[in-house]
C-alpha cells in the first residue's frame, strides 16, 4: 500500500541553534494508527508542527497523499487535522461557533449535520451554546478534538491528547479514534502513556533527541525486543538458590517462594527445558507457573537508556 504520509530527511534547527530533528525518515500507511513515543523534548511536537505548517523545516520534505506540505500546502493541509498539545481555545466563543469556524477555515462549506455528529461523538452537544471559557479542562480538550474533526480530515494528529485527561474522556477519545480509523482516517498520536500506544497503535515509532530510533509494527516490536519472564511458585520456600542452578541466571523472589527466569523469546533456545529438568534433579517442586512479556514501557526505557 502506498504511504499516505512520506517524511524524508526532515530536520529542524531552531533559531536558537538547537537541533530538534536530525534527518527523520518515516512513512505512515493509510488507515493506520501510529504512535510516536519519546521522552519530553524528543522532538515529537516539532515533527508534527512541521507537517502541519506551524514550524518551517530546516531540511527535508513531507508529502501528504502526493501533496508536498509546503509547495502544495492547500491540498495537503485540507486533509490534515491537528489537535495541539497545549489547551489553546477561543475563550469567548461558544462551542458551536468555534467548531463551525474551524470547518470554514479549512475551506469546507457549512454542514451543521456534521458539526452535530462530531459534538455528539465527543459528548459536547449539550454544551454547544456554552462559552468555551466556562468549560473544564477536559471539556476544552474535547473542543480541540471537535475543531480538528470539523473539516473531516483524512489524517489526524493528536499531540499528547490524554495528558492530564480524566478516565472518562480518555475512553471517549479512544472510541472516537477507533471509529475514525474504521472510517479510514489515518491517526498519528504522541503519548507518554505507553499503555496507550500499546493498546491503540498498529505501529510504534520511538524518537529520542531528534532521532527516530525505531519504527516497528507493535506486535513485532514486542516480540522482537520483548523479554519474557517465567515465574515459578514453589511448594517450599528456599533459603538460597542451589549452586547447581547458578548458570541459569535465576532470581529468587517473594521470600524464597518464587523463582523468576528471564529469557529472550526470540532466541534459538529459550533454555526452559533444561531449567525445568535441572529443577527437578535438585528436588525443587513448584505448584504454579506463569509467563509474562515485557511491556512497551520496558522496551522503551531500555532503548532510551542504551542511547545515552
Amino acid at each position: 500500500m502506498a504511504p499516505i504520509l512520506k517524511i524524508s530527511g526532515l530536520s529542524k534547527v531552531y533559531d536558537s541553534g538547537f537541533t530538534a530533528l536530525k534527518s527523520v525518515d518515516l512513512e505512515i500507511d493509510k488507515g493506520e494508527i501510529f504512535a510516536l513515543l519519546g521522552p519530553n523534548g524528543a522532538g515529537k511536537t516539532t515533527l508534527i508542527s512541521i507537517i502541519c505548517g506551524l514550524v518551517s523545516p530546516s531540511g527535508g520534505t513531507v508529502v501528504a497523499d502526493g501533496h508536498d506540505v509546503i509547495r502544495d500546502y492547500r491540498a495537503a493541509r485540507a486533509m490534515i487535522g491537528l489537535v495541539p498539545q497545549e489547551l489553546t481555545t477561543d475563550s469567548f466563543e461558544t462551542v458551536w461557533a468555534t467548531v463551525s469556524f474551524s470547518r470554514g477555515l479549512f475551506g469546507k462549506p457549512k454542514n451543521p449535520a456534521h458539526i452535530e455528529k462530531v459534538l455528539k461523538a465527543l459528548s459536547l452537544y449539550d454544551k454547544r451554546d456554552s462559552k468555551v471559557m466556562t468549560l473544564s479542562g477536559g471539556m476544552k480538550r474535547r473542543v480541540l478534538i471537535a475543531k480538528a474533526l470539523a473539516h473531516e480530515p483524512e489524517i489526524l494528529f493528536l499531540d499528547e491528547p490524554t495528558a492530564g485527561v480524566d478516565v472518562e474522556l480518555r475512553r471517549d477519545m479512544w472510541n472516537v479514534v477507533r471509529e475514525l480509523r474504521d472510517g479510514g482516517v489515518t491517526i498519528i498520536l504522541t503519548t507518554h502513556y505507553i499503555e496507550e500506544a500499546e493498546e491503540m497503535a498498529d505501529r510504534v515509532g520511538i524518537i529520542n533527541k531528534g532521532e527516530l530510533m525505531l519504527v516497528e509494527d507493535k506486535a513485532e516490536l514486542m516480540r522482537k525486543l520483548g523479554r519474557k519472564q517465567l515465574r515459578l511458585t514453589l511448594h517450599e520456600p528456599l533459603g538460597a538458590l542451589p549452586e547447581a542452578l547458578a548458570d541459569h541466571g535465576l532470581e529468587l523472589g517473594k521470600d524464597g517462594t518464587e523463582i523468576v527466569y528471564t529469557y529472550d523469546s526470540q532466541g534459538e533456545r529459550t533454555g526452559i527445558t533444561t531449567l525445568l529438568s535441572d529443577l527437578s534433579q535438585n528436588g525443587i517442586r513448584f505448584k504454579d507457573l506463569d509467563t509474562s512479556q515485557s511491556t512497551l514501557e520496558e522496551i522503551f526505557v531500555n532503548l532510551v537508556r542504551n542511547q545515552q
Binding site: 531552531y14 533559531d15 502541519c52 505548517g53 506551524l54 514550524v55 518551517s56 500546502y73 492547500r74 491540498a75 495537503a76 493541509r77 485540507a78 490534515i80 491537528l82 495541539p84 497545549e86 489553546t88 481555545t89 477561543d90 475563550s91 469567548f92 466563543e93 461557533a97 463551525s100 469556524f101 474551524s102 470547518r103 470554514g104 477555515l105 479549512f106 475551506g107 469546507k108 462549506p109 475543531k147
Partner: protein
C-alpha cells in the same frame, strides 16, 4: 482562493466586535460626543467661523478621522495579536489559507468595523451641529481608503508586536499626537508660518484636510494632493505586507 476561510475569519472578527459592543462602539461615540460638548458648544461658541463653517461643524470631519485612525489601528492590531498571544493562531497557520487571504479577512473586518463606527459618529455629530456633505462620494472614498490603510498598518503592528506594550506603543506615541496636531481642531492657516510648514510633514493633515473638503468644499491643501497622499500611505502599507510575506510570516519558528 479559499472563500470559506476568508468568510470564517471575517465573520469571526465581526462577531468579536458585537460581543464587545460597549467597547467598540459605545465608548468612541461617548468620547466623540464629549468633544462636541467641550469644543463645539463650550469653546466653539467663542470661536469665529472658519472659512465660513461654524467651529462645531468644522471639527466634525477631523473627529471622525481621529476615531477612524485609532479604531482601525487598534482593531486590526488586536485582531491578529490576540490569537498570537493566546496561541489560537496555530489553527490559522495550519489551515489551507494563504497569507494574503488572512490579510484580506482580518484587515477587511477591521476596516468594516471602523467604517461603520465612522458613520455612527457622523450620525451622532449631526445631532449636535448642522452638517452638510457636498461630496458624499469623495467622503466615502476617504473613509474607505483611510480605514483600509490604517487597518493594514494595524495588522503589521499586530504581527510585529511581541508584547502588549509594543502593541500600544505605536497608537499612543505616534498616532495620537499626529492626529491632534493634524488639523482636526484648527485650520493650519491659523498656525505661525514655521509650524504651518512643519505640519505638512504630518500625513494626518492630508487625510483630515481632504476629508473636510468632501464636507464643506474648503481645505488646507488641495484635495488631489490629499487623495494622492492617502494612496501613497496605502501603497506603503501594502509594500510592507508584501515584504513581511516574503521574509516569512514572522509567526512561525
Amino acid at each position: 482562493m479559499n472563500f470559506h476561510a476568508v468568510r470564517a475569519i471575517y465573520v469571526y472578527e465581526m462577531a468579536r466586535a458585537f460581543r464587545t459592543l460597549l467597547q467598540s462602539v459605545v465608548s468612541p461615540v461617548i468620547s466623540t460626543s464629549l468633544y462636541f460638548v467641550v469644543f463645539g458648544a463650550a469653546i466653539g461658541s467663542r470661536i469665529d467661523e472658519i472659512n465660513g463653517v461654524s467651529y462645531g461643524a468644522f471639527i466634525v470631519p477631523g473627529l471622525i478621522m481621529l476615531s477612524l485612525l485609532t479604531q482601525s489601528l487598534t482593531n486590526a492590531s488586536f485582531g491578529i495579536y490576540f490569537p498570537k498571544f493566546v496561541g489560537t493562531i496555530y489553527e490559522v497557520l495550519s489551515a489551507p489559507v494563504s497569507f494574503i487571504e488572512v490579510v484580506i479577512a482580518y484587515v477587511g473586518a477591521a476596516a468594516t468595523k471602523s467604517i461603520i463606527l465612522g458613520l455612527i459618529i457622523l450620525g451622532t455629530a449631526s445631532l449636535f451641529v448642522p452638517l452638510r456633505i457636498e461630496h458624499p462620494f469623495v467622503m466615502l472614498t476617504f473613509l474607505v481608503l483611510t480605514a483600509l490603510t490604517f487597518s493594514l498598518f494595524g495588522f503589521i503592528i499586530g504581527i510585529w508586536a511581541d508584547s502588549f506594550e509594543k502593541l500600544q506603543l505605536v497608537p499612543l506615541l505616534i498616532i495620537t499626537p499626529l492626529t491632534f496636531l493634524g488639523g482636526s481642531f484648527y485650520s493650519i492657516d491659523m498656525l505661525p508660518p514655521f509650524w504651518r510648514t512643519a505640519t505638512l510633514f504630518n500625513p494626518v493633515v492630508y487625510l483630515v484636510s481632504g476629508f473636510r473638503w468632501s464636507f464643506y468644499g474648503v481645505s488646507d491643501v488641495s484635495v488631489w494632493i490629499s487623495l494622492a497622499m492617502t494612496g501613497l500611505f496605502l501603497a506603503i502599507c501594502l509594500t510592507a505586507i508584501w515584504w513581511i510575506f516574503h521574509t516569512g510570516w514572522r509567526l512561525k519558528s
